[in-house]
Protein backbone atom coordinates (compact mmCIF):
# COMPACT_ATOMS: atom_id res chain seq x y z
CA UNK A 1 0.00 0.00 0.00
CA UNK A 2 1.38 3.41 -0.86
CA UNK A 3 1.94 6.15 1.62
CA UNK A 4 -1.08 8.19 0.58
CA UNK A 5 -3.52 5.34 0.97
CA UNK A 6 -2.08 4.39 4.29
CA UNK A 7 -2.52 7.93 5.53
CA UNK A 8 -6.19 7.66 4.68
CA UNK A 9 -6.44 4.66 6.94
CA UNK A 10 -4.53 6.19 9.80
CA UNK A 11 -7.04 8.78 10.90
CA UNK A 12 -5.81 11.46 13.25
CA UNK A 13 -7.47 12.15 16.57
CA UNK A 14 -8.06 15.54 18.13
CA UNK A 15 -7.48 14.66 21.78
CA UNK A 16 -6.37 11.47 23.41
CA UNK A 17 -3.54 8.94 23.32
CA UNK A 18 -1.74 7.15 20.54
CA UNK A 19 0.18 4.04 21.48
CA UNK A 20 2.74 3.52 18.78
CA UNK A 21 5.38 0.89 18.05
CA UNK A 22 3.37 -1.99 19.46
CA UNK A 23 4.84 -5.29 18.36
CA UNK A 24 2.88 -6.62 15.37
CA UNK A 25 -0.17 -8.60 16.43
CA UNK A 26 -0.11 -7.38 20.05
CA UNK A 27 -2.47 -4.42 19.47
CA UNK A 28 -5.61 -6.33 20.38
CA UNK A 29 -3.96 -7.56 23.59
CA UNK A 30 -3.16 -3.99 24.58
CA UNK A 31 -6.73 -2.98 23.76
CA UNK A 32 -8.06 -5.75 25.97
CA UNK A 33 -5.73 -5.20 28.89
CA UNK A 34 -6.60 -1.49 29.00
CA UNK A 35 -10.24 -2.49 29.34
CA UNK A 36 -11.45 0.20 26.91
CA UNK A 37 -15.19 -0.33 27.08
CA UNK A 38 -16.39 3.27 26.79
CA UNK A 39 -13.72 4.86 24.64
CA UNK A 40 -13.66 5.35 20.90
CA UNK A 41 -10.61 3.54 19.56
CA UNK A 42 -8.85 2.89 16.30
CA UNK A 43 -6.66 -0.18 16.12
CA UNK A 44 -4.26 -0.44 13.21
CA UNK A 45 -2.36 -3.58 12.62
CA UNK A 46 0.41 -4.55 10.24
CA UNK A 47 1.46 -0.96 9.67
CA UNK A 48 4.85 -0.49 8.00
CA UNK A 49 7.53 0.68 10.40
CA UNK A 50 11.19 1.59 10.04
CA UNK A 51 12.00 0.30 13.52
CA UNK A 52 9.96 -2.89 13.72
CA UNK A 53 9.27 -3.82 10.10
CA UNK A 54 5.59 -4.12 10.89
CA UNK A 55 3.81 -2.75 13.91
CA UNK A 56 0.44 -2.13 15.51
CA UNK A 57 -0.91 1.26 16.55
CA UNK A 58 -3.75 1.91 19.00
CA UNK A 59 -5.47 5.31 19.08
CA UNK A 60 -7.76 6.13 21.97
CA UNK A 61 -9.88 9.26 21.72
CA UNK A 62 -10.32 11.58 24.71
CA UNK A 63 -8.33 9.53 27.15
CA UNK A 64 -5.15 10.04 29.07
CA UNK A 65 -3.56 6.88 30.38
CA UNK A 66 -2.74 6.35 34.03
CA UNK A 67 0.74 5.27 35.08
CA UNK A 68 -0.78 1.91 35.93
CA UNK A 69 -1.90 1.51 32.30
CA UNK A 70 1.52 2.46 31.00
CA UNK A 71 3.15 -0.14 33.26
CA UNK A 72 0.83 -2.76 31.83
CA UNK A 73 1.75 -1.77 28.30
CA UNK A 74 5.45 -1.94 29.21
CA UNK A 75 5.01 -5.56 30.19
CA UNK A 76 3.28 -6.70 26.99
CA UNK A 77 4.81 -4.27 24.47
CA UNK A 78 8.20 -3.15 25.80
CA UNK A 79 8.98 -1.05 22.68
CA UNK A 80 5.78 0.97 22.73
CA UNK A 81 5.74 4.75 22.77
CA UNK A 82 2.85 6.69 24.20
CA UNK A 83 1.94 9.94 22.48
CA UNK A 84 -0.38 12.34 24.23
CA UNK A 85 -2.45 14.30 21.72
CA UNK A 86 -4.03 17.69 22.31
CA UNK A 87 -5.55 19.78 19.51
CA UNK A 88 -4.38 17.35 16.83
CA UNK A 89 -0.76 17.68 18.02
CA UNK A 90 1.59 15.44 19.94
CA UNK A 91 2.24 17.36 23.17
CA UNK A 92 4.15 14.64 25.00
CA UNK A 93 5.97 11.45 24.06
CA UNK A 94 6.59 8.78 26.66
CA UNK A 95 8.35 5.46 26.52
CA UNK A 96 6.67 2.55 28.27
CA UNK A 97 9.28 1.34 30.74
CA UNK A 98 8.80 -1.47 33.20
CA UNK A 99 9.22 -0.42 36.86
CA UNK A 100 11.27 -2.61 39.24
CA UNK A 101 8.19 -3.66 41.17
CA UNK A 102 4.67 -3.97 39.79
CA UNK A 103 2.03 -3.40 42.42
CA UNK A 104 -1.54 -4.21 41.43
CA UNK A 105 -0.81 -3.92 37.72
CA UNK A 106 -1.56 -7.47 36.58
CA UNK A 107 -3.00 -10.55 38.22
CA UNK A 108 -0.91 -13.62 38.94
CA UNK A 109 -1.00 -16.26 36.18
CA UNK A 110 -0.82 -18.99 38.85
CA UNK A 111 -4.38 -20.08 39.61
CA UNK A 112 -3.32 -21.51 42.94
CA UNK A 113 -1.80 -18.21 44.09
CA UNK A 114 -3.29 -16.62 47.19
CA UNK A 115 -3.82 -13.40 45.21
CA UNK A 116 -6.38 -15.25 43.08
CA UNK A 117 -8.39 -16.34 46.13
CA UNK A 118 -8.19 -13.55 48.66
CA UNK A 119 -10.09 -10.36 47.91
CA UNK A 120 -8.04 -8.03 50.05
CA UNK A 121 -4.62 -8.50 48.49
CA UNK A 122 -2.82 -6.51 45.84
CA UNK A 123 -0.59 -8.43 43.47
CA UNK A 124 3.11 -7.68 43.62
CA UNK A 125 5.74 -8.73 41.12
CA UNK A 126 9.45 -8.20 41.30
CA UNK A 127 11.26 -7.75 37.99
CA UNK A 128 14.15 -10.22 38.16
CA UNK A 129 15.26 -9.96 34.54
CA UNK A 130 14.48 -7.46 31.82
CA UNK A 131 15.61 -9.16 28.64
CA UNK A 132 13.77 -11.39 28.35
CA UNK A 133 11.37 -10.21 31.03
CA UNK A 134 11.11 -12.41 34.11
CA UNK A 135 8.83 -11.45 36.96
CA UNK A 136 8.57 -13.22 40.29
CA UNK A 137 5.30 -13.15 42.21
CA UNK A 138 5.98 -11.87 45.72
CA UNK A 139 3.40 -14.32 47.11
CA UNK A 140 3.57 -17.64 45.29
CA UNK A 141 7.26 -17.03 44.36
CA UNK A 142 6.79 -18.40 40.85
CA UNK A 143 8.65 -16.85 37.96
CA UNK A 144 6.67 -15.73 34.92
CA UNK A 145 7.51 -14.54 31.45
CA UNK A 146 5.74 -12.02 29.26
CA UNK A 147 3.75 -14.77 27.52
CA UNK A 148 2.27 -16.00 30.80
CA UNK A 149 0.69 -12.58 31.31
CA UNK A 150 -0.44 -12.28 27.70
CA UNK A 151 -2.61 -15.34 28.22
CA UNK A 152 -4.53 -13.40 30.86
CA UNK A 153 -5.70 -10.93 28.21
CA UNK A 154 -6.99 -13.27 25.52
Amino acid sequence: MNKENENLLVRKIEDGTVIDHIERGKGMKIYKLLNLKEETCILLTNVESKKLGRKDILKIANKELLQKDIDKIALIAPNATINIIKDWKVVEKRKATLPNILVNIVSCPNRNCVTRMEKDVSTKFIVEKREPVKLRCFYCERVFEKEDFEELFT
Partner: protein, 321 residues
Protein backbone atom coordinates in the same frame (compact mmCIF):
# COMPACT_ATOMS: atom_id res chain seq x y z
CA UNK B 1 6.60 -9.05 57.19
CA UNK B 2 5.42 -6.01 55.35
CA UNK B 3 6.12 -5.78 51.66
CA UNK B 4 8.57 -2.88 51.87
CA UNK B 5 10.47 -4.64 54.64
CA UNK B 6 10.75 -7.71 52.49
CA UNK B 7 12.02 -5.60 49.63
CA UNK B 8 14.55 -4.00 51.95
CA UNK B 9 15.67 -7.44 52.88
CA UNK B 10 15.92 -8.58 49.30
CA UNK B 11 18.15 -5.58 48.74
CA UNK B 12 20.36 -6.72 51.62
CA UNK B 13 18.86 -4.32 54.13
CA UNK B 14 18.13 -4.76 57.80
CA UNK B 15 16.10 -7.58 59.22
CA UNK B 16 13.04 -6.14 60.88
CA UNK B 17 10.28 -8.61 61.41
CA UNK B 18 10.73 -12.21 62.41
CA UNK B 19 8.74 -14.62 60.32
CA UNK B 20 9.79 -17.84 58.65
CA UNK B 21 8.02 -17.90 55.30
CA UNK B 22 10.40 -19.18 52.68
CA UNK B 23 13.89 -20.60 52.48
CA UNK B 24 14.40 -18.09 49.70
CA UNK B 25 14.46 -15.17 52.11
CA UNK B 26 16.84 -16.74 54.58
CA UNK B 27 20.59 -16.58 54.46
CA UNK B 28 23.25 -18.94 55.74
CA UNK B 29 23.88 -16.95 58.92
CA UNK B 30 20.22 -17.03 59.91
CA UNK B 31 20.00 -20.75 59.26
CA UNK B 32 23.16 -21.40 61.24
CA UNK B 33 21.71 -19.39 64.10
CA UNK B 34 18.63 -21.61 64.08
CA UNK B 35 20.89 -24.71 64.06
CA UNK B 36 22.83 -23.39 67.04
CA UNK B 37 19.58 -22.79 68.90
CA UNK B 38 18.39 -26.29 68.04
CA UNK B 39 21.58 -27.84 69.38
CA UNK B 40 21.30 -25.88 72.62
CA UNK B 41 17.68 -26.93 72.95
CA UNK B 42 18.56 -30.58 72.32
CA UNK B 43 21.06 -30.48 75.19
CA UNK B 44 18.64 -28.71 77.51
CA UNK B 45 15.84 -31.13 76.76
CA UNK B 46 18.06 -34.06 77.69
CA UNK B 47 18.25 -32.74 81.24
CA UNK B 48 14.76 -31.27 81.67
CA UNK B 49 11.95 -32.80 79.67
CA UNK B 50 9.88 -29.61 79.45
CA UNK B 51 11.45 -26.17 79.20
CA UNK B 52 9.89 -22.94 80.38
CA UNK B 53 11.01 -20.64 77.56
CA UNK B 54 7.47 -20.25 76.15
CA UNK B 55 5.62 -20.49 79.44
CA UNK B 56 2.41 -18.46 79.27
CA UNK B 57 2.63 -18.14 75.48
CA UNK B 58 0.08 -19.50 73.04
CA UNK B 59 0.84 -20.82 69.58
CA UNK B 60 -2.01 -21.19 67.13
CA UNK B 61 -1.94 -23.86 64.47
CA UNK B 62 -4.02 -22.89 61.47
CA UNK B 63 -4.09 -25.96 59.25
CA UNK B 64 -6.37 -25.19 56.32
CA UNK B 65 -5.12 -28.40 54.76
CA UNK B 66 -4.60 -31.54 56.81
CA UNK B 67 -1.04 -32.53 57.68
CA UNK B 68 -1.12 -34.49 60.88
CA UNK B 69 2.62 -35.11 61.05
CA UNK B 70 3.63 -31.47 60.72
CA UNK B 71 0.91 -30.39 63.14
CA UNK B 72 1.97 -32.95 65.75
CA UNK B 73 5.58 -31.90 65.35
CA UNK B 74 4.79 -28.22 65.98
CA UNK B 75 2.49 -29.10 68.89
CA UNK B 76 5.20 -31.19 70.49
CA UNK B 77 7.73 -28.41 69.94
CA UNK B 78 5.58 -25.75 71.61
CA UNK B 79 4.64 -28.04 74.51
CA UNK B 80 8.27 -28.94 75.12
CA UNK B 81 9.00 -25.22 75.29
CA UNK B 82 6.40 -24.93 78.05
CA UNK B 83 3.80 -23.17 75.88
CA UNK B 84 0.23 -23.89 74.90
CA UNK B 85 -1.33 -24.57 71.51
CA UNK B 86 -4.72 -23.89 69.99
CA UNK B 87 -5.90 -24.47 66.42
CA UNK B 88 -7.66 -26.55 63.85
CA UNK B 89 -6.92 -28.93 61.04
CA UNK B 90 -8.73 -29.09 57.68
CA UNK B 91 -10.86 -26.47 56.04
CA UNK B 92 -14.19 -27.97 57.14
CA UNK B 93 -13.45 -27.14 60.73
CA UNK B 94 -12.53 -23.55 59.96
CA UNK B 95 -14.73 -20.59 59.18
CA UNK B 96 -13.01 -20.16 55.79
CA UNK B 97 -15.43 -22.84 54.64
CA UNK B 98 -18.17 -20.35 55.49
CA UNK B 99 -16.54 -17.70 53.31
CA UNK B 100 -14.47 -15.77 55.83
CA UNK B 101 -11.37 -14.23 54.31
CA UNK B 102 -7.92 -15.34 55.36
CA UNK B 103 -7.19 -11.78 56.40
CA UNK B 104 -10.13 -11.65 58.84
CA UNK B 105 -9.18 -15.03 60.21
CA UNK B 106 -5.64 -13.85 60.95
CA UNK B 107 -6.86 -10.57 62.49
CA UNK B 108 -9.03 -12.57 64.90
CA UNK B 109 -6.60 -15.35 65.73
CA UNK B 110 -3.71 -13.00 66.45
CA UNK B 111 -5.73 -11.63 69.37
CA UNK B 112 -5.72 -15.07 70.98
CA UNK B 113 -2.11 -16.05 70.54
CA UNK B 114 1.53 -14.99 70.51
CA UNK B 115 2.68 -16.84 67.43
CA UNK B 116 0.97 -18.32 64.37
CA UNK B 117 1.85 -21.47 62.42
CA UNK B 118 -0.05 -21.72 59.16
CA UNK B 119 -0.53 -24.40 56.55
CA UNK B 120 -2.64 -23.49 53.56
CA UNK B 121 -3.45 -24.93 50.13
CA UNK B 122 -2.88 -21.60 48.35
CA UNK B 123 0.63 -20.64 47.29
CA UNK B 124 1.69 -17.42 48.96
CA UNK B 125 -0.90 -17.76 51.75
CA UNK B 126 1.76 -17.66 54.47
CA UNK B 127 3.39 -14.55 52.97
CA UNK B 128 0.02 -12.80 52.85
CA UNK B 129 -0.89 -13.93 56.38
CA UNK B 130 2.44 -12.60 57.68
CA UNK B 131 1.77 -9.27 56.00
CA UNK B 132 -1.55 -9.03 57.78
CA UNK B 133 -0.44 -10.44 61.13
CA UNK B 134 1.12 -8.43 63.91
CA UNK B 135 2.33 -11.64 65.52
CA UNK B 136 5.33 -13.65 64.27
CA UNK B 137 4.38 -16.33 61.80
CA UNK B 138 5.84 -19.61 60.58
CA UNK B 139 4.91 -21.20 57.26
CA UNK B 140 4.13 -24.91 57.63
CA UNK B 141 3.51 -25.34 53.89
CA UNK B 142 1.74 -23.17 51.31
CA UNK B 143 0.48 -25.27 48.40
CA UNK B 144 3.29 -26.32 46.11
CA UNK B 145 5.48 -23.41 47.12
CA UNK B 146 7.42 -23.60 50.39
CA UNK B 147 7.76 -25.62 53.58
CA UNK B 148 10.80 -24.00 55.17
CA UNK B 149 10.89 -25.93 58.46
CA UNK B 150 11.09 -29.16 56.45
CA UNK B 151 14.15 -27.86 54.61
CA UNK B 152 15.69 -26.67 57.87
CA UNK B 153 15.22 -30.05 59.50
CA UNK B 154 16.59 -31.82 56.41
CA UNK B 155 19.74 -29.71 56.48
CA UNK B 156 20.04 -30.06 60.25
CA UNK B 157 19.80 -33.85 59.99
CA UNK B 158 22.63 -33.92 57.46
CA UNK B 159 24.77 -31.64 59.59
CA UNK B 160 24.15 -33.69 62.74
CA UNK B 161 24.74 -37.07 61.14
CA UNK B 162 27.41 -36.29 58.55
CA UNK B 163 29.05 -33.05 59.64
CA UNK B 164 29.81 -29.90 57.62
CA UNK B 165 27.29 -29.71 54.77
CA UNK B 166 29.77 -28.05 52.40
CA UNK B 167 31.84 -31.27 52.36
CA UNK B 168 28.93 -33.51 51.49
CA UNK B 169 27.90 -35.18 48.26
CA UNK B 170 24.13 -35.18 48.36
CA UNK B 171 22.01 -37.09 45.85
CA UNK B 172 18.37 -36.14 45.50
CA UNK B 173 16.56 -39.20 44.22
CA UNK B 174 13.12 -39.75 42.69
CA UNK B 175 10.44 -37.41 41.39
CA UNK B 176 12.19 -34.05 41.38
CA UNK B 177 9.58 -32.33 39.28
CA UNK B 178 6.61 -32.34 41.61
CA UNK B 179 6.45 -31.32 45.22
CA UNK B 180 8.17 -28.50 47.01
CA UNK B 181 10.47 -30.54 49.26
CA UNK B 182 13.18 -31.19 46.68
CA UNK B 183 13.05 -27.70 45.20
CA UNK B 184 13.52 -26.03 48.58
CA UNK B 185 16.16 -28.55 49.55
CA UNK B 186 18.25 -27.93 46.45
CA UNK B 187 18.15 -24.24 47.33
CA UNK B 188 19.24 -24.88 50.92
CA UNK B 189 22.00 -27.30 49.92
CA UNK B 190 23.36 -24.85 47.36
CA UNK B 191 23.42 -22.12 50.00
CA UNK B 192 25.71 -24.37 52.06
CA UNK B 193 27.80 -25.27 49.01
CA UNK B 194 27.08 -28.99 49.07
CA UNK B 195 27.87 -31.05 45.97
CA UNK B 196 24.49 -31.87 44.52
CA UNK B 197 23.49 -34.71 42.20
CA UNK B 198 19.97 -35.01 40.88
CA UNK B 199 18.71 -38.46 39.88
CA UNK B 200 15.23 -38.80 38.46
CA UNK B 201 13.23 -40.84 35.96
CA UNK B 202 13.07 -39.27 32.49
CA UNK B 203 10.33 -36.66 32.48
CA UNK B 204 10.46 -36.09 36.23
CA UNK B 205 13.60 -33.95 36.25
CA UNK B 206 13.81 -30.82 38.37
CA UNK B 207 12.58 -27.60 36.79
CA UNK B 208 15.44 -25.97 34.86
CA UNK B 209 14.52 -22.51 36.12
CA UNK B 210 15.28 -23.52 39.69
CA UNK B 211 18.59 -25.15 38.80
CA UNK B 212 19.67 -22.04 36.91
CA UNK B 213 18.59 -19.71 39.70
CA UNK B 214 20.48 -21.72 42.30
CA UNK B 215 23.62 -22.04 40.13
CA UNK B 216 23.65 -18.31 39.48
CA UNK B 217 22.99 -17.29 43.06
CA UNK B 218 25.37 -19.61 44.87
CA UNK B 219 27.90 -20.49 42.20
CA UNK B 220 27.56 -24.26 42.65
CA UNK B 221 27.81 -27.24 40.33
CA UNK B 222 24.75 -29.44 40.02
CA UNK B 223 24.90 -32.77 38.20
CA UNK B 224 21.80 -34.37 36.73
CA UNK B 225 21.41 -37.98 35.68
CA UNK B 226 18.84 -40.64 34.92
CA UNK B 227 21.29 -43.38 35.87
CA UNK B 228 20.60 -44.59 39.40
CA UNK B 229 23.87 -46.48 39.97
CA UNK B 230 26.01 -43.66 38.70
CA UNK B 231 23.98 -41.09 40.63
CA UNK B 232 24.42 -42.67 44.06
CA UNK B 233 28.05 -43.80 43.65
CA UNK B 234 29.71 -40.93 45.53
CA UNK B 235 26.80 -39.93 47.75
CA UNK B 236 27.21 -39.30 51.47
CA UNK B 237 23.49 -38.67 51.68
CA UNK B 238 20.72 -40.03 49.46
CA UNK B 239 17.54 -38.07 49.86
CA UNK B 240 14.63 -40.06 48.43
CA UNK B 241 11.18 -38.81 47.74
CA UNK B 242 7.89 -40.35 46.86
CA UNK B 243 7.41 -41.60 43.30
CA UNK B 244 3.73 -41.44 42.50
CA UNK B 245 2.49 -43.84 39.85
CA UNK B 246 -0.11 -41.33 38.67
CA UNK B 247 2.72 -39.21 37.30
CA UNK B 248 3.33 -41.64 34.44
CA UNK B 249 1.11 -41.80 31.41
CA UNK B 250 0.91 -45.57 31.09
CA UNK B 251 0.81 -48.32 33.68
CA UNK B 252 3.63 -50.33 32.10
CA UNK B 253 5.97 -47.36 32.20
CA UNK B 254 4.96 -46.68 35.81
CA UNK B 255 5.78 -50.26 36.85
CA UNK B 256 9.13 -50.12 35.10
CA UNK B 257 10.09 -46.79 36.68
CA UNK B 258 8.93 -47.87 40.12
CA UNK B 259 11.30 -50.84 39.83
CA UNK B 260 14.26 -48.91 38.43
CA UNK B 261 13.96 -46.08 40.92
CA UNK B 262 13.34 -48.20 43.98
CA UNK B 263 16.01 -48.17 46.65
CA UNK B 264 16.87 -51.81 47.34
CA UNK B 265 19.72 -53.58 49.19
CA UNK B 266 21.05 -54.58 45.72
CA UNK B 267 21.16 -50.99 44.50
CA UNK B 268 22.88 -49.87 47.69
CA UNK B 269 25.77 -52.21 46.81
CA UNK B 270 26.81 -49.42 44.44
CA UNK B 271 26.78 -46.76 47.17
CA UNK B 272 29.36 -45.89 49.80
CA UNK B 273 29.12 -48.07 52.92
CA UNK B 274 28.55 -45.10 55.22
CA UNK B 275 25.87 -43.43 53.09
CA UNK B 276 22.72 -42.33 54.92
CA UNK B 277 19.18 -42.41 53.56
CA UNK B 278 16.70 -39.63 54.23
CA UNK B 279 13.06 -39.26 53.23
CA UNK B 280 10.51 -36.54 54.07
CA UNK B 281 7.83 -39.18 54.82
CA UNK B 282 5.21 -40.46 54.35
CA UNK B 283 6.81 -43.02 52.07
CA UNK B 284 5.00 -45.58 49.95
CA UNK B 285 7.09 -48.27 48.28
CA UNK B 286 10.08 -46.36 46.89
CA UNK B 287 12.29 -47.87 49.59
CA UNK B 288 12.50 -51.65 50.11
CA UNK B 289 11.01 -52.49 53.53
CA UNK B 290 14.17 -54.41 54.48
CA UNK B 291 16.08 -51.16 54.44
CA UNK B 292 14.02 -49.70 57.29
CA UNK B 293 15.96 -51.97 59.65
CA UNK B 294 19.41 -51.02 58.40
CA UNK B 295 21.48 -48.47 60.34
CA UNK B 296 21.86 -46.33 57.20
CA UNK B 297 18.08 -45.64 57.18
CA UNK B 298 17.88 -42.35 59.04
CA UNK B 299 14.41 -41.12 58.13
CA UNK B 300 12.92 -41.81 61.54
CA UNK B 301 15.83 -39.98 63.15
CA UNK B 302 15.15 -37.16 60.67
CA UNK B 303 11.55 -36.90 61.95
CA UNK B 304 12.89 -36.70 65.51
CA UNK B 305 15.11 -33.74 64.56
CA UNK B 306 11.98 -31.95 63.39
CA UNK B 307 11.07 -31.24 67.00
CA UNK B 308 14.24 -29.39 68.16
CA UNK B 309 14.32 -27.56 64.79
CA UNK B 310 10.73 -26.37 65.22
CA UNK B 311 11.46 -25.45 68.85
CA UNK B 312 14.38 -23.39 67.57
CA UNK B 313 12.20 -21.78 64.89
CA UNK B 314 9.62 -20.79 67.50
CA UNK B 315 12.31 -19.29 69.75
CA UNK B 316 13.91 -17.57 66.78
CA UNK B 317 10.78 -15.76 65.60
CA UNK B 318 9.82 -14.94 69.20
CA UNK B 319 13.21 -13.46 70.09
CA UNK B 320 12.06 -9.84 69.88
CA UNK B 321 8.61 -10.41 71.32
Amino acid sequence: MLFFQAILKLAGGVFISRDIISIRDMNKEEIEKIFELAEKIEKMIERVKILEIMKGKVLSLLFFEPSTRTKLSFETAMKKLGGETIGFESIESSSIAKGESLKDMIKVVEKYCDIIVIRHFAEGAARFAAEVSEKPLINAGDGGNQHPTQTLLDLYTMKKLKGDISNLNVTLFGDLKHGRVMRSLVYGLAMFNAKITLVSPPGLEMDKGIIEEVKEKFDVEIYSSNDVKEGIKNADVIYICRLQKERFSDAFEAEKMAKTYKVTPELLEYAKSDVILLHPLPKTNEIDLMIDFLPIAKYYQQVAYGVPIRMACICYVMENE
